[in-house]
């Protein structure tokens, strides 16, 4: 993958810094008391300006021979793939929106099976490994550490879980 062009990055940071500063400036003052000239927007707007200045410097300076960069690394990476990382993001999104209704066990099972199969495992072994992993994690966190992992669809069996 081509490394991000430093000039573009600089421009992005200038825009981001400007946005932060703008949003910070419109924050309301303290609601009560507080007899100082520095409101809730003071510190964030400083940070916004710092980001803008650094972005500007980057945009003007442009790319530099990065002493740190591992040439071999960049080459070995090749072109990035999109489907697999999107599956990871999708799994996390599914967890955020569905874990409460579906429950931890089913959703973690599905996520594990899918990602293990992406990694080249066959369905049956993926299923077995996922079952074992999900149940272990559930027992450990929910039973031993009392983290309230959602039961979801398995709620009616709550007494056994």
């Amino acid at each position: 993958m081509v490394k991000f062009h430093d000039r573009h990055l600089g421009v992005v940071m200038v825009v981001l810094g400007a946005a932060i500063t703008g949003l910070a400036m419109v924050l309301p003052g303290p609601i009560t008391g507080a007899h100082i000239a520095y409101g809730p927007g003071f510190f964030p707007s400083l940070l916004g300006v710092a980001t803008m200045l650094a972005g500007l410097a980057l945009a003007i300076r442009g790319p530099q021979a990065d002493t740190d960069s591992d040439a071999s690394d960049a080459e070995a990476k090749g072109r990035p793939r999109f489907v697999a990382p999107l599956l990871v993001l999708g799994s996390m999104l599914a967890y955020v929106y569905l874990s409460d209704t579906v429950g931890f066990l089913p959703i973690s099972l599905v996520i594990l099976v899918v990602l293990l199969m992406v990694g080249g495992m066959r369905f049956v072994s993926a299923l077995l490994l996922s079952l074992a992993t999900s149940i272990t994690i559930y027992l450990l966190f929910s039973k031993v550490l009392m983290v309230p992992l959602p039961r979801g669809l398995l709620q009616p069996w709550a007494i056994w879980l």
């Binding site: 924050l27 609601i31 007899h35 000239a37 510190f43 940070l47 999109f82 999104l93 929106y97 999900s134």
Partner: protein, 498 residues
């Protein structure tokens, strides 16, 4: 006194308490080794379990679990480039760089032994000098904290590798992220865009899980990243050659012990800040600063000792004045109160055997760390042997459960997701991650202490230099800022003379 020590010893070394300590040790190692799950979380998760225990086993459990978790955070840091705790983040690049060179056993050995040394040093200081040091800690008001935090931010200049401009961007963005949520000074919600899940701000743990673990998982799936391909299949002897290394790095270790303990004593500054400051100081005074970030054994030794020393040091103000030194002792104080053991100067009179029990628990835990940590590292071999395509999905599930467990909300999983994407692109753009995390840790402290100081002084800056400790810290900070200028000036002069 002897009577109390003996009675404490007989309680501590009873089979029941030893079993509790052993169980908490295994638990702490496990929690610490999972990327993103912190020593603080290990302690918090123990609260319900210790609810019905006596004070000594309850506190021994927490002491053991937090010390073990602090070390175990280094294991995924070295093997997978995912720091297990924020305190490991300062030297993750060094630990992983050694692994890439086929020296995982060296980096893990240093981390293990210096952790134990740091923990024991802190515990000895705790046992011997708790009351006077706690009185010193009580001299810190918002002015002193402000300078201490600024000093912490300044140190990030030393841990930056590559472009300093990108380091500044990373630090600013980290500080910015820390301002999301209700501003504790004014009560105004900031940058929440009306989202109820943002009103509490973004917690450090899901962010850490995101920028380190999730980003690494994304990288793996995007590239089948050879950066992570473990070039070393067999882990060599963990203790081989450690005697020589430890002796060579004795100065760094001593520095880490002392700084770590001191920073631990200062309420509110814990192991994370200790590791960062100690690492930067080691680099600043190193003869080989160019090695830092590329596998410096010196940096590992200093920071590895510092974070465990800080864990012990934090108990000093906690026991003597009931004022927590860090997030872990804040929980422990609550548990002590629960058991009817009230921290305070009279704890030494009213509950001497509990106090000695705590001291001894520290020593036992940190000694136990060496064999158990060795076992944990041996288990870590599984990571080296397992195929990453199997490991990554499992780590992802742990990431989600871990984020959820911080505050018991799925919103934290969303935060981990968002910061996973951010961390991925930061790395692609060559922006270092460490200053970003440091910014999130220090942001609230810097801002709040600045604002409350201004409120107290009625807007006058003079007050920042009025108090002796504040003035001292200010002097150090400003000298560090000016040192590059001075060096530049001196060089110019030399050139002129030539």
């Amino acid at each position: 006194m002897m009577v109390h020590i003996l009675s404490a010893a007989s309680e501590l070394f009873s089979p029941y308490v030893m079993a509790v300590i052993f169980g908490s040790a295994v638990f702490g190692l496990f929690i610490g080794a999972i990327p993103g799950l912190t020593a603080t979380m290990a302690t918090a998760l123990l609260v319900p379990i210790t609810f019905y225990m006596d004070p000594v086993p309850a506190v021994a459990a927490m002491v053991t679990a937090s010390a073990m978790a602090m070390f175990a955070g280094d294991i995924p840091s070295a093997l997978l480039r995912m720091p297990g705790t924020p305190a490991s983040a300062a030297y993750t690049d060094d630990a992983f760089a050694l692994t890439k060179k086929g020296m995982a056993h060296v980096s893990l050995g240093i981390c293990l032994l210096t952790s134990a040394i740091g923990g024991i040093f802190g515990a000895l200081v705790l046992s011997a000098f708790a009351p006077p040091l706690a009185s010193l800690a009580l001299k810190f008001s918002s002015f002193e904290y402000f300078w201490l935090c600024l000093l912490g931010l300044t140190t990030s200049a030393f841990i930056m590798q590559g472009s300093p401009i990108k380091g500044i961007i990373s630090l600013s963005l980290g500080l910015f992220v820390s301002t999301i949520g209700i501003d504790p000074v004014s009560g105004v919600p900031r940058f929440t865009f009306g989202a109820p899940s943002l009103i509490g701000g973004v917690s450090l743990v899901p962010v850490m899980i995101g920028v380190f673990a999730v980003a690494e998982i994304l990288r793996f799936y995007a590239h089948r990243n050879p950066k992570l391909a473990l070039e070393q299949v067999e882990l060599k002897g963990v203790f081989t050659g450690q005697g020589r290394i430890l002796w060579r790095e004795r100065k760094a270790i001593a520095q880490g012990n002392v700084l770590g303990t001191l920073i631990g004593i200062v309420p509110g500054a814990g192991a994370d800040i200790a590791a960062w400051i100690s690492y930067s100081v080691a680099k600043k005074f190193s003869r080989k600063p160019e090695e830092y970030g590329r596998g410096s054994e010196e940096g590992l030794a200093a920071a590895g000792a510092a974070n465990n020393a800080a864990v012990s040091g934090a108990y000093i103000p906690a026991l003597v004045f009931g004022i927590p030194g860090d997030a872990i002792t804040a929980i422990v104080i609550g548990v002590l109160f629960m058991k009817g053991v009230n921290p305070g100067p009279t704890i030494f009179l009213n509950n001497p055997s509990t106090v000695y029990g705590i001291f001894m628990a520290f020593l036992v835990a940190n000694l136990l760390m060496i064999p158990l940590g060795w076992v944990a590292i041996r288990c870590g071999r599984v990571i080296l042997k397992a195929r990453l395509s199997i490991l990554m999905p499992i780590i992802l599930v742990f990431c989600m459960v871990g984020s959820f467990a911080v505050d018991n909300t799925v919103a934290a999983v969303g935060v981990a997701l968002a910061f996973g994407v951010i961390g991925y692109f930061m790395e692609e753009a060559g922006i270092p991650i460490a200053p970003f995390v440091l910014g999130i840790v220090l942001g609230p402290l810097v801002e709040q202490n600045f604002l409350t100081s201004m409120m107290k002084s009625g807007g006058s800056f003079v007050a920042f230099f009025d108090r002796p400790i504040a003035a001292g810290l200010a002097l150090v900070t400003i000298m560090i800022w000016l040192s590059p200028l001075l060096a530049f000036w001196r060089r110019r002069k030399l050139v002129d003379q030539a």
